[in-house]
């Protein structure tokens, strides 16, 4: 039986200070021209936590609004007022920066994070009221140090300072004096990724009926690499995050594929569950500080707030068929292969039309496509266009070339089978996965029959190949056949014993 999509969680951490100090657009600019007007005025373009929460795409990401509701608002969305301003959502939360720094300190198990004592105490008292943070984890925040000590560390050693509201509130130390793979910069990025992954895991467990102890395996699929100089990228974020989230019976591993990582990881998870190897597998990822404010210069030039001010994360639970949740149809899998080529039509055909054709389906037989769901508010002012819309137009154009629709029906195809984008531009985060939470509900409500999830990755960025990459799979309504019941040895013995007793009685009856 097919595995099922049992739940999904989505989190954001509002991190404006990390935009200034850790986003690569800003750090590059600081290297080239530290006195630039862009850097001098950057803080004026950053949003407050309240503004970040009241942003329509963010409220959609955490599940308080549907993509269809978001589409009802005129773009650009940063100019619109949202009815929703909640921190908590159906799928997760938007965490403020001070609490997120606290969570980073909690996720540090090598005494590399030093927080100023007053800041640590304030954050600890805030996190005490967080329903998902285990009080035992808060002990990590009892080791605050005096501010002069933090400042001394910043002066004397190569550390990454931690800022909140523009003030130094702590720092992250290097884990090795020479090893660049364990530098303060790398440790910082990795702890941010780990912490946002952990928060996603906590929400997933908190919002599904499956207990933490029941999770067998976790696949982490971010775009960071942890390891030392002898095994850079050795891993394992999955197990590190699982430890923090209390998944005591789980092990795991990391899967990488640039933005396509989550789709690859979901295929792995679906196969592990369908084969019966594991019953509950989580696919999860934290976010990237590098991509904060990536398009900041364009946003500032156009008098917009910097919209890339959140670290994002997600977690998805793939489980054995429960007879209710949507199934992952692993018989319809699209693959961009080595021989596919790099032209857009070859790429999009390999992921959509070709796998569908094999099972006699047309492009229009998919109710909704979940593609690269980047928020157009972020990408359009940067000259990158409306990414999801461009993907839908390509699928529609392919349908027209295949004579499945008329060319004049292209716009209708896009609106009928597409969605607006709402996800932050954190690489792997917008790629196919942001719609899973909504898709699960709509498939269970019988509003949709089939959804195709597409993940695409720009492998050439790693300079190891010029190839592009991508995989796709189908979510479908549950066939309703119910959970597979495995027959235990004990129950077989009991059945045989009962039959033998009946047979013996029958013989006795014959004799009587």
């Amino acid at each position: 039986m097919y595995s099922v999509l049992k739940g999904a969680s989505y989190i954001l951490a509002h991190t404006p200070d990390m935009v200034i100090h850790n986003g690569t657009t800003q750090t590059t600019q600081r290297t080239i021209d530290p006195e630039s007007e862009y850097l001098k005025n950057l803080d004026k373009s950053l949003r407050t936590y309240e503004e970040c929460k009241a942003y329509l795409p963010n409220q959609t990401y955490i599940g308080n609004m549907t993509p269809q509701e978001l589409a009802g608002y005129e773009q650009p969305w940063f100019l619109q007022k949202s009815e929703h301003t909640e921190r908590e959502g159906k799928f997760g939360e938007i965490m403020p920066e001070d609490e997120f720094i606290g969570l980073i300190a909690i996720c540090d198990v090598f005494d590399l994070v030093k927080l100023e004592v007053n800041f640590a105490n304030t954050v600890r008292s805030k996190l005490e009221s967080h329903s998902l943070i285990n009080p035992a984890l808060l002990k990590a925040l009892e080791k605050g140090v005096a501010l002069p000590e933090v400042k001394q560390l910043i002066e004397d050693t190569r550390v990454e300072p931690l800022y909140f509201n523009g003030n130094i509130v702590g720092c992250i130390k290097a884990a090795h004096d020479i090893d660049q793979s364990l530098s303060a910069h790398v440790i910082f990025e990795n702890l941010v990724s780990k912490a946002s992954c952990v928060l996603s895991l906590l929400h997933l467990i908190g919002k599904t009926e499956v207990n933490a102890e029941e999770i067998d395996y976790v696949i982490e699929c971010s775009e960071e690499a942890c390891g030392d100089m002898n095994q850079r990228g050795g891993g394992n974020f999955a197990k590190a995050a699982s430890e923090m989230a209390g998944l005591v019976n789980a092990t795991g591993s990391d899967v990488r594929g640039f933005c396509a990582g989550p789709a690859h990881a979901l295929l792995h998870a679906a196969a592990l569950v369908k084969s019966g190897t594991f019953k509950h597998v989580i696919v999860a990822a934290g976010g990237s500080t590098a991509k904060l404010g990536m398009n900041g210069k364009d946003h500032v030039n156009k008098n917009m707030p910097i919209l890339e001010d959140c670290v994002a994360g997600f977690a998805v639970l793939i489980s054995a068929n429960d007879g209710v949740s949507p199934e992952i149809n692993s018989d319809i899998v699209g693959r961009h292969t080595v021989g596919t080529g790099s032209s857009p039509q070859n790429v999009i055909s390999s992921l959509t039309a070709i796998p569908l054709e094999k099972v006699g389906l047309k492009l229009s037989d998919i109710d909704k496509y979940s593609v690269e769901m980047q928020n157009p508010d972020i990408t359009k002012p940067a000259g990158a266009g409306n990414v999801p819309e461009a993907n839908y137009k390509m699928i529609g154009a392919l349908a027209a070339m295949r004579k499945e629709i008329e060319k004049s029906q292209l716009a209708d195809f896009v609106s009928e089978h597409g969605l607006v984008g709402w996800a932050p531009t954190q690489g792997h985060i917008p790629s196919g996965v942001p719609y899973l939470g909504f898709a699960r509900q709509e498939l269970m409500d019988k509003k949709l029959n089939r959804v195709m999830v597409i993940g695409k990755g720009s492998l050439f960025l790693g300079r190891m190949t010029n190839l592009f990459d991508g995989v796709s799979f189908i979510l479908q309504q549950n066939s309703g056949a119910g959970e597979e019941k495995s027959v235990s040895e004990t129950s077989v013995r009991k059945l045989i014993a009962d039959s033998l007793k009946d047979f013996a009685k029958h013989l006795q009856g014959d004799e009587g």
Partner: protein, 107 residues
């Protein structure tokens, strides 16, 4: 334009002579195509990359412009580009590219 690509364009222009180079773009929008064209003609408008302040003035076309399309085997063009041609705002791209070429192209 990506800093690494700027470096490669600069190196190739130096190696083969700028008059012998044609840059073919595949950007999905007029604005993005225009920015890339500006970078290889008038210099990097963001002043971030190796082409900042370097006016190479190279010949530059988008793959959907007729000058390029007419040079390509129609069957190959159909297989590789026609779907994107249907999706892109080709008129807008041509307008942007022509403006940049008229102003900055030296060859």
């Amino acid at each position: 334009m990506d800093l690494e690509n700027q470096k490669r364009v600069k190196a190739l222009a130096e190696q083969y002579g700028p008059e012998n180079i044609i840059v073919i773009l595949g950007a999905a929008e007029g604005e993005a195509a225009g920015l890339a064209a500006e970078t290889v003609t008038a210099g990097d408008p963001t002043y971030a990359g190796p082409l900042a302040g370097v006016q190479l003035g190279l010949k530059v076309y988008h793959v959907c412009e007729p000058e390029v399309k007419d040079e390509v085997d129609s069957a190959v063009y159909d297989e590789q580009i026609s779907m994107m041609e249907m999706v892109l705002d080709v008129d807008d791209i041509i307008k942007e590219m022509s403006t940049i070429r008229d102003e900055y192209c030296k060859y």
